[in-house]
Assembly symmetry: C2
Homo-oligomer: 130 residues x 2
Amino acid sequence: MTIKEVCRKFDVSADTLRYYERVGVIPEVHRTAGGIRDYSAEDLNWVATAICFRSAGMPIELLIEYVKLFREGDETFGARRDLLIEAKERILAERKKYDDALEKLEYKISKYDEAVRTGVLKWDEEGSCK
Amino acid sequence: MTIKEVCRKFDVSADTLRYYERVGVIPEVHRTAGGIRDYSAEDLNWVATAICFRSAGMPIELLIEYVKLFREGDETFGARRDLLIEAKERILAERKKYDDALEKLEYKISKYDEAVRTGVLKWDEEGSCK
DNA sequence: ATACACCTTAGAGTCAACTCCAAGTCAATG
DNA sequence: CATTGACTTGGAGTTGACTCTAAGGTGTAT
């Protein structure tokens, strides 16, 4: 699979894919005799994983560390598991912030719905919201 | 309330608070006669809102737009509501990505737990994960 | 009244994560 | 076999969101 096809498949730029490979967010991608990237199923899987974790706010550094451990072989199973558990904790903590913001938004939207209907914006407590 | 106290209260740097005010993420903060910031309850409320939305990944530009509408007065109730609804949609979409990543992580962690116990890492489908 | 900690501004610097560019190579088509 | 379009690399540039620095003002405790 060419880089262009991978771009379309994952809606990501070729520059980003090359960047990920260059810095080690994914391992080296398979090449043709001429040196052109030809993504295998396994390469695609790495790309999918990288994009999935990046979309959830995981820093590139963490992904690089994971790939580094992967390259070191089977002795790093434990370290890789620990890293994934840390990633999970981080994402759970981040998601909580999203839930907090959503709660605040629900409240504000309900007050603005009222304001649009009545022409008056009124919060439950003094100075509690804007 | 001094800037230092606000920093402690929200665990944010004074530079960030001044930056938020400068670019318009929050309206101008009340000052003492000498020109020193003295955050009112309302100012604190704006700070809390800004930090909450920023923690949920909302770009500064959106917050600036909201404050701009707020400053324009009561004719912008509708526009402010629409902007909040857009923010909600964005955050819901982002949260979905977090959930996807968590699902992937759960799966991988379970496989690594097994790998640590058995010494063998095995995915359900060929090349499905790394 | 003089330290001293803390505040002010404008503007420059930093960092993560891309994104773009120049110069050149590869591969399918007329 | 020449054109065309996509690919390659190394390195420079951009963007969003801070973060720091320099030069100076404020306010309170001795």
